[in-house]
């Protein structure tokens, strides 16, 4: 996209172009605003492992790293990303680490310890949580990590404030020499809102000094001392959040609503729209610790308080604790009315407020149930046209069916998790990054079935290597199918160690497998369906005979990347079409292959949607009568350099 200057405004500006701009309102994604806040605060080091909804934070910083001269990296996993940013912060360099909520589970070890040692310069840990699980395996509330680890937790209450909050938190962390947790959610990270840009510093401090100190050595004796120092720092933080500029008390009345984080945006809207004047609203940015004295003062003279917050009752527990401590006579409502699961929405908040304030509030004119709803087919996400994973799962499915194989197929986190849907159903257990191989180890010990575990390249490097070593060491009869599309595709094509990136060293998965002692290692092209089947047969044979793991690396680039490169190079790729005279209406292509571009006609014959076909040609080998052909002749071999 090109930048356009209208009088005094920037339209469709790229993040990079905005570096030269200040004192202007632009439309930024919440994650871009967090990145901008870090820049305005003078961040020197930023790291992450990609994960929705956190990815665009470090992606944006990556875009500008050379121009600003700061260090930004996609690390191999969240633990390593955390440790790198931590090292910067204890050396006096401002740093940020970003991850999705479940990523903090992986980084939990250094997270806990970082609060014990403290830091030298601003250290902002961003956790982007996913209430309602739009793109995640759970909706854990990472604010609880703050309570667990003595790390103060902050949430923006309005999307348009998140840039300034991020900037402020760097100073806050520097002042207290303590890490801080900025918790975002999908609705903050992935909402675009007008953001007023501030100044970009002229210089960034990227080199520091590490002052050696035994406080960084958490042997028991030192850790015991650190614990006391940490508690002292934390009590100063408790004092400091009493006057936090992003907290606010609004309105007056005999009842109080405490609205932490994005819940405030919903509450504020309902209060304004329905002119609910007789109530106090606390806009709460400091989630843990809460501003104790401020809340005590508010609750002293009121009859009831309601905490409206998303997911777990993190603030509610703290308020109840405070009420008991202070012997206040105030009735508390919260999760008993709002409910625990999923994200908030306006209707839910309207109903909760209506109950609490005893007022009638119209909820949206929902027409559900008003008339018979149409029966609509589900539309689960699916592999893109051209995806190399579709022919792979097709080949394996056909193999399992034809051999009447008893197979159990643990899966993992990535695009290939979509093979859990029809027609493949080849992801039997998907729980966490690297889980396919760990769970596969276990299955091979307790089941007689053939165990085929699927894991992608980025996930393999993230958490798949230790369980593969375990399979070699403990002799697990496991077939690891490692899908190498040379990129972290699902989260938006961030590089993985399998990517060919200028200036980085590519690591071949087959070398890793051989290096840790796997004796059966084969690399296959998923478009060659017969080769995939034959290799799988050999692997089954090997694991049965030798009682040890086999690795099949399935290599072909993500189609979105391959086709992007072809388009950039001006390569014309003809789409494909079905020869209706040849088609025998067997239905294999639209039933078992499942490409969105192939649809059945009323007579059962296949047809290819010209608006969806991208011309990958993967379906050509699927048709038993060779009825699928390109609409123009071309030489597929000439395109292979884009695919590998």
């Amino acid at each position: 996209m090109r930048i356009i200057n209208l009088i005094g405004s920037i339209v469709m500006g790229k993040f990079k172009d905005l570096l030269k701009v200040s004192n202007t309102k632009v439309l930024l994604l919440g994650n871009e605003a967090i990145a901008r806040g870090a820049i305005e605060a003078g961040v020197g080091v930023a790291t992450a492992y990609p994960g929705t909804p956190s990815s665009e934070i470090v992606e944006s910083l990556m875009e500008v790293k050379d121009e600003l001269g700061i260090y930004v990296e996609w690390s191999v996993n969240e633990k390593v990303a955390f440790e790198i940013a931590y090292a910067a912060a204890i050396s006096g360099v401002r740093s940020l680490v970003a991850m999705k909520h479940v990523g903090l589970n992986v980084a939990a070890d250094p997270f806990m310890s970082s609060a014990y040692t403290g830091v030298e310069e601003g250290f902002v840990i961003v956790s982007a949580d996913d209430p309602s699980m739009w793109s995640s395996q759970n909706e854990q509330d990472n604010r609880i990590y703050g309570l667990h680890g003595y790390v103060p937790v902050f949430e923006t209450t309005i999307v348009s404030e998140v840039k300034d909050l991020t900037k402020y938190l760097f100073d806050f962390s520097s002042k207290h020499k303590h890490p801080v947790l900025l918790r975002s959610t999908t609705r903050i990270s992935h909402t675009r809102a007008p953001i007023m840009l501030g100044e970009v510093p002229r210089e960034f401090k990227i080199k520091g000094v590490f002052k050696k100190d035994i406080k960084y050595v958490l042997t028991p004796a030192n850790a015991r001392r650190d614990k006391l120092a940490m508690l002292e720092r934390f009590s100063r933080i408790r004092q400091d959040v009493e006057k936090f500029p992003f907290n606010k008390i609004e309105g007056s009345g005999n009842k109080v609503i405490i609205a932490p984080g994005i819940a405030y945006s919903y509450v504020k809207e309902v209060i304004e729209e329905h002119n609910l004047n007789d109530v106090i609203v606390v806009k709460l940015t400091t989630i843990y610790p809460i501003p104790y004295n401020m809340i005590v003062d508010i609750l002293r003279d009121v009859s009831a308080v309601m905490i409206i917050e998303e997911l777990e009752p993190v603030v509610e527990y703290q308020v109840k604790d405070l009420i008991v401590n202070e012997g206040l006579k105030v009735k508390v409502y919260g999760k008993d009315i709002t409910g625990l699961p999923y994200e908030l929405n306006l209707n839910r908040v309207k109903k909760s407020l209506g109950k609490f304030l005893n007022v009638e509030i119209n909820v949206g004119k929902d027409n559900l149930g008003r008339k018979q709803q149409l029966e609509l087919p589900a539309r689960p996400p699916t592999f893109c046209p051209g995806c190399p994973y579709r022919p792979l799962f097709y080949a394996i499915k056909m193999f399992i069916i034809s051999k009447k194989l008893n197979a159990v197929t643990p899966g993992d986190i990535g695009c290939y998790a979509l093979a859990s849907n029809e027609p493949f159903k080849l992801q039997d257990v998907v729980i966490e990054m690297g889980g396919s191989l760990g769970v596969g180890n276990g299955f091979s010990k307790v089941l007689d079935d053939v165990v085929i575990a699927f894991i992608g390249d980025s996930t393999f490097f993230h958490a798949g290597i230790p369980p593969l070593i375990n399979a070699v060491f403990n002799k697990s009869r496991l077939i690891a199918v490692i899908l190498d599309n040379e990129v972290t595709a699902m989260t938006g094509h961030q590089p993985s160690p399998a990517s060919k990136v200028p200036g980085k060293k590519r690591i071949l998965i087959e070398d890793v497998a051989k290096g840790v002692g796997v004796r059966f290692v084969k690399v296959v092209d998923p478009f060659k369906i017969d080769v995939v089947k034959k290799t799988l047969e050999e692997a089954i044979e090997f694991t049965r005979k030798e009682n040890e793991p086999a690795v099949i690396v399935v290599r072909r680039r993500c189609a979105l990347e391959a086709f992007r490169d072809m388009r950039r190079a001006g390569v014309e790729i003809p789409i494909h079409a079905v020869d209706k005279n040849k088609c025998i209406a067997c239905g294999i292509c639209y039933t078992w292959f499942g490409c969105p571009a192939i649809t059945p006609l009323t007579d059962g014959k296949a047809s290819i949607d010209p608006g969806l076909c991208i011309g990958c040609g993967a379906c050509v080998n699927v048709c038993p009568v060779k009825a699928i052909k390109p609409v123009k002749t071309y030489r597929p071999e000439e395109l292979s350099k884009y695919w590998f």
């Binding site: 339209v11 609705r187 675009r192 994005i262 929405n345 609509l376």
Partner: protein, 214 residues
């Protein structure tokens, strides 16, 4: 009060881009606030997608409540019907591209096109059907279909004094990798813009205008 627009379709059709250009057009044409709540990641891969756009003096909540959308812009018919519960019953409009994409599930039973259209018509004050996809495909750029919807809503928002056509056109010219795609985008935009200028009557405008008043 806010004007609530949901943009729906199938992941990959250009839904996020459409939402973003509308937001940019509003922010750069008027003093109103705008917020766009997107869905990324997993659901983007050919799945059902909804994006929430809110326009008004004070916009706080990022998402639109079910039953509270004033406008639906749909790039696909099944998804239009699926999210029809978001529409304000009989007090909203739907602008739909006449495109039906079969969910790639085996043995899926497809609903009838006319039934889908009737379903949405029954729930709206007025419904408009565009042929953006067909026109875009004819011109060799099927992903330009979203520009017809952009043109259509730009015309409506221009008459509500929320968007300037000049700004929208500049945005259109900034999209697309090749001159060819930029040209198709512009043609589709103008097609939608002209269609709205002809078909959207003043009663529809006053219905929407109410929502922008404090």
């Amino acid at each position: 009060m806010t004007l609530n627009i949901v943009v729906v379709g199938v992941g990959g059709q250009g839904i996020l881009s459409l939402a973003r250009v509308i937001g940019e057009a509003v922010l750069n044409s008027s003093d109103l606030n705008v917020s766009i709540a997107e869905t990324h990641g997993l659901s983007q891969r050919g799945g059902s997608v909804i994006t929430h756009i809110r326009i008004g003096k004070g916009v706080f909540a990022p998402t639109i409540a079910e039953g509270d959308a004033d406008v639906m812009l749909a790039l696909e018919l099944i998804e239009a019907a699926r999210y029809s519960s978001y529409l304000k019953y009989k007090e909203s409009i739907a602008v739909i591209d006449d495109r039906l994409i079969r969910p790639s599930l085996p043995k899926v039973k497809l609903p009838d096109r006319d039934e889908l259209i009737k379903h949405i018509q029954d729930r709206t004050y007025r419904m408009f059907i565009l042929k953006g996809f067909n026109e875009a495909l004819k011109r060799g750029s099927p992903l330009s279909a979203n520009m017809a919807l952009f043109g259509f809503i730009s015309s409506i928002l221009e008459r509500l004094r929320v968007v300037k056509n000049k700004v929208s056109l500049k945005i259109v010219s900034s999209l697309g990798r090749s001159e060819r795609v930029i040209k198709v985008n512009k043609e589709l935009y103008l097609m939608g813009y002209e269609k709205a200028s002809r078909l959207v009557s003043s009663d529809v405008l006053s219905l929407l205008k109410k929502r922008l008043l404090i």
